[in-house]
């Protein structure tokens, strides 16, 4: 029996001006599946996952998230956004709000949750990412790794069914990468559907169900981690892996 599809992209094309950034992309992600997307910079991987919660609009093809097709219709976009959580490279915490307020903002104003309830939820997830004692500090007072874990907790507070990660560890100091990856591994163990743009190949081997390699706006190769890393088939994949693995 096959698991239901969480995200489906069919012949998706996108242009920035005249620049063809996504070219005939086809991808289906099952519920509970973990996808790692890698590729050289400018290959369109960030754009791909940003299309999934419509931070970018695609121009042709179809994107269906959890049974809802993304169109210009605002209601569909809202529904998708409140079910898809996202973590950014630069965390993008709100600097004027405390950690707790960062986490409760969307539950209160989008989910119309009572404040007490939202705070309990936030504390639950802050405990899960192991920083409950920082709840009343401001983002500027935390280290990069802590900020990224808060960002994960903030996204989780909306109880998303799908999580998107856009290079969550690229802006971190080396000693902080592990704490963030550990949190992501735990999340994966809970069965969350995840799409991660990352170059952490150790993480990909450990967690991913599939690794997607992109170049020039298209999916070049897609395979389970073991064969992907040990026996890459496409010439470009081999070149890329040789450059990042050494």
């Amino acid at each position: 029996m096959s698991a239901p599809v969480a995200v489906e992209m069919i012949d998706v094309n996108k242009w920035f001006g005249d620049f063809h950034v996504l070219r005939d992309v086809n991808l289906a992600v099952a519920q509970g599946e973990r996808i790692v997307i890698c590729g050289p910079s400018g290959s369109g991987k960030s754009t791909l996952i940003r299309c999934i919660n419509r931070l970018e609009a695609h121009q042709s093809g179809r994107i269906i998230v959890d049974g809802v097709e993304l169109t210009d219709d605002l209601r569909n976009i809202e529904q998708v956004r409140s079910e898809v959580g996202m973590c950014f490279q630069h965390f993008n915490l709100f600097p004027h709000l405390t950690i707790l307020e960062n986490c409760t903002l969307a539950p209160i104003w989008v989910r119309k949750m009572a404040k007490r309830e939202a705070e309990e939820l936030a504390m639950h997830f802050l405990a899960k990412v192991r920083i409950p004692d920082q709840a009343n500090k401001y983002p500027g007072q935390l280290s990069g790794g802590q900020q990224q874990r808060v960002a994960i907790a903030r996204a989780l507070c909306m109880r998303p069914r799908i999580m998107l990660f856009d290079e969550p560890t690229s802006a971190l100091d080396p000693e902080m990468v592990k704490e963030v990856l550990d949190t992501m591994v735990e999340l994966a163990a809970d069965g969350m559907t995840m799409l991660c743009v990352t170059h952490e190949m150790g993480f990909a081997r450990q967690v991913a169900d599939r690794v997607v390699f992109m170049d020039e706006g298209q999916i070049i190769e897609m395979n389970a981690p073991e064969p992907f890393f040990t026996a890459p088939r496409h010439e470009r994949t081999r070149l890329f892996l040789s450059q990042i693995l050494r």
Binding site: V5, A28, E216
Partner: protein, 455 residues
């Protein structure tokens, strides 16, 4: 997850692209121009409404202005009758003969007609020295700066006032019969000897020669300047109360700029000084002049300052206004420069000092050039503000461009329904051209410097 390869979906099986998808152009109707129109003019109903509203506003403003100032305007005529509407109910445009008739007054004030060539030379010389200064590519900036800020003001002063100040002997009682130049020479000699002697006592002969050289230059420059304003070149003296119009506007702006920048830098450094008295007096000076309206500074300079000076000392009205302008302009400039000094990281001071540069040299060679570069927009804004504030002198009865214009309005020979609008249009164009030009220039300069720094 065991169900890895049997989920539904289109291509979850191991996949490899066989051929690369070539880049295509965006689909039809999404070309560059159309996309721009869609996203900037007509993306939604609201967008269309806004576009139409905007175009309606443009239609309401631009064509009437054009027809008033150009197509419907009267271009020739000797007096007001040319600009009066031919019959009741017919409207006419701008009355340009009015500007032509008053042009000299707007540019020179009441400067005697026979002597206006002096103003023209000053204008021309200023432009000649300023233009190459503004083009970053041209060489010789140092010399050019010295000519514009050092030599030009002296020449302009002599040209405009007539020079021949008849400096009086100031050591009077001490040296009867010696006269001013005797006094000056005597003072210079005493100053030089004292400094050389003092240094020789402390550091040995070599340093003494160095000090002598360094002191000789300023003394010589001061002597030259004094000489220039004291010699009788045979120019007819023109009192400043005859000056007016654009001449006064530009004189006040230039004097304000050249006084406020150095004074502002000194005040900014003073405000960051470690010496409490220096710091406090700088703060008080800066905050006081920044805290009161410009017009009260001019009132202060006009009505109050004369009371504070010895009774037999009568100061020229324009000079009083200039003192007021210098006071507030340097206070504003000081705050701008301070912002730049704060923006320079501590590492730059440390780096300069690590190279063995003393505090003064570190400031002059490393910190200040960077700080001033950072605050070019702020400096330009202060200059523009100063330029706009020159209009205020008309309140203390000095006729700048706006004041001259207001005086021209009262001429009954030119009283027509459109005189006022024509005058404001003309003066507005001049003010706008200068300030807009200055702000655009500072932006371009900033971009140029940023580009230069990056490469």
């Amino acid at each position: 997850m065991a169900s890895l390869h049997d989920t539904s979906g289109r291509n979850n099986a191991p996949y490899m692209a066989t051929a690369l998808v070539p880049a295509r152009m965006p689909p039809q109707g999404q070309g560059k121009g159309w996309r721009w129109v869609r996203s900037n003019l007509a993306g939604s109903v609201l967008q269309v409404v806004l576009t139409l509203f905007g175009l309606w506003l443009v239609y309401m403003i631009v064509p009437p202005l054009l027809s008033f100032f150009i197509t419907d305007a009267i271009w020739t005529g000797e007096n007001r009758t040319a600009c009066l509407p031919p019959q009741e109910g017919v409207s006419v445009g701008a009355c340009w003969p009015f500007i032509r008739a008053k042009f000299d007054q707007l540019i020179y004030g009441f400067y005697p007609a026979d002597e206006r060539w002096r103003v023209n030379i000053a204008y021309g010389l200023g432009a000649l020295l300023l233009l190459p200064l503004l083009v970053p590519r041209l060489p010789g900036k140092r010399l050019n700066m010295m000519l514009f800020f050092g030599v030009f003001p002296v020449i302009a002063f002599v040209l405009l006032t007539g020079g021949n100040l008849r400096l009086s002997a100031f050591l009077g009682a001490l040296s009867p019969g010696l006269g001013f130049w005797g006094d000056a020479l005597l003072c210079a000699f005493i100053l030089l000897a004292a400094a050389v002697g003092f240094t020789a006592l402390r550091n040995g002969a070599l340093a003494a020669r160095e000090v002598a050289r360094q002191l000789l230059v300023p003394v010589a420059v001061a002597a030259l300047v004094l000489l220039a304003v004291d010699v009788d070149f045979g120019l007819v003296p023109v009192e400043t109360r005859l000056w007016g119009g654009l001449l006064v506007t530009l004189v006040i702006t230039l004097v304000g700029v050249s006084v406020s920048l150095p004074l502002g830098i000194v005040l900014a450094l003073g405000r960051r000084s470690r010496l409490p008295l220096v710091r406090i007096s700088s703060v008080v000076f800066i905050e006081f002049w920044r805290g009161v309206p410009v017009i009260t500074v001019l009132f202060f300079a006009t009505y109050m300052l004369p009371l504070f000076l010895p009774g037999d000392m009568s100061i020229d009205a324009l000079l009083r206004a200039l003192v007021g302008v210098a006071l507030f302009a340097s206070a504003y400039m000081a705050e701008v420069v301070r912002g730049g000094l704060q923006a320079i990281p501590k590492g730059q001071y440390e780096g300069a000092e690590a190279l063995g540069l003393g505090q003064g040299l570190a400031m002059r060679l490393v910190v200040l050039p960077q700080a001033l570069r950072v605050v070019i927009p702020g400096i330009a804004n202060t200059f523009i503000g100063l330029f706009k504030d020159t209009t205020l002198v008309l309140i203390v009865a000095i006729f700048d461009l706006l004041g001259a214009m207001r005086a021209a309005f009262t001429d009954p020979n030119w009283a027509t329904p459109t005189t006022l609008f024509t005058g404001f249009g003309f003066a507005g164009l001049i003010y706008f051209a200068f300030s807009f030009g200055m702000s655009r220039y500072s932006m371009a300069l900033e971009r140029h410097l940023n580009r230069e720094q990056r490469t």
